[in-house]
């Protein structure tokens, strides 16, 4: 059995491909901002906020001077 050398094989094949073009890049960027903006504008569930507020109240803030 011959030893298969790895040196002749390409190291990686998942290199980033060239951009599809500025127009498509901008279209993707715009869609990304739309999706993220939708998530960002989704109102925080009151129960989640109340829970975290309760946890914060139970755990009063510490300052370095308090140590």
């Amino acid at each position: 059995m011959t030893r298969r050398g790895r040196a002749s094989q390409p190291e990686r094949t998942d290199q980033a491909k060239p951009s599809a073009g500025p127009v498509q890049d901008e279209a993707i960027a715009a869609k990304l901002r739309m999706v993220y903006g939708t998530y960002l504008n989704d109102p925080v569930p009151p129960e989640l906020e109340a829970l975290i507020r309760r946890l914060a109240d139970q755990d009063p803030p510490k300052r370095p001077d308090d140590k």
């Binding site: 599809a20 869609k31 939708t38 946890l55």
Partner: protein, 189 residues
Amino acid sequence: MTAMEQAVETEAADGESFGEALIAALPVLRAFARSLCGNRVQADDLVQETAVKALANQDRFTPGTNFNAWLITILRNHFYSEGRKRRREVEDVDDNYAARLYDVTGQEGHVALGEFVRALKEVPDEQREALILVGASGFSYEEAAEICGVRVGTIKSRVSRARARLSELLPDVDTATATDVPSHIATAS
């Protein structure tokens, strides 16, 4: 400064309690968590766990530094250490959330946006988070690198690969609406 930039740069200001700052950061944390895990219920669980950890480690936060970046670092670390294990077990009820919302507003074709959300999920986690941090959350490459604990070049590479993957998945992305961002989103971007 836009609303999103303000949100990103929210810091635990002097006189504002840690808890108040944490609550103010919830929209940003939830948006990032949703982008990361693609599931609304799990995202809120992730945010809750992040809040618990942040409160327990609040003395480790350095005042004057980016509070949201600190929180997002906690969130992503928790996601990769714990959340991802459970992720596949949770039924995805959020797949077309964004699409449905846009369908209601009537400002964007729900099919196109739903397709984008699904394509985004096909992008590997680490590439998707880099793209979200830089392309949507408003963090610099340097900040994103610090959040992810990698070099700046790695973040640039991940962002590039994420864009390329999306271009592959969405060869016919609707370029006609590329700049037609609804006003309520545009103000937050």
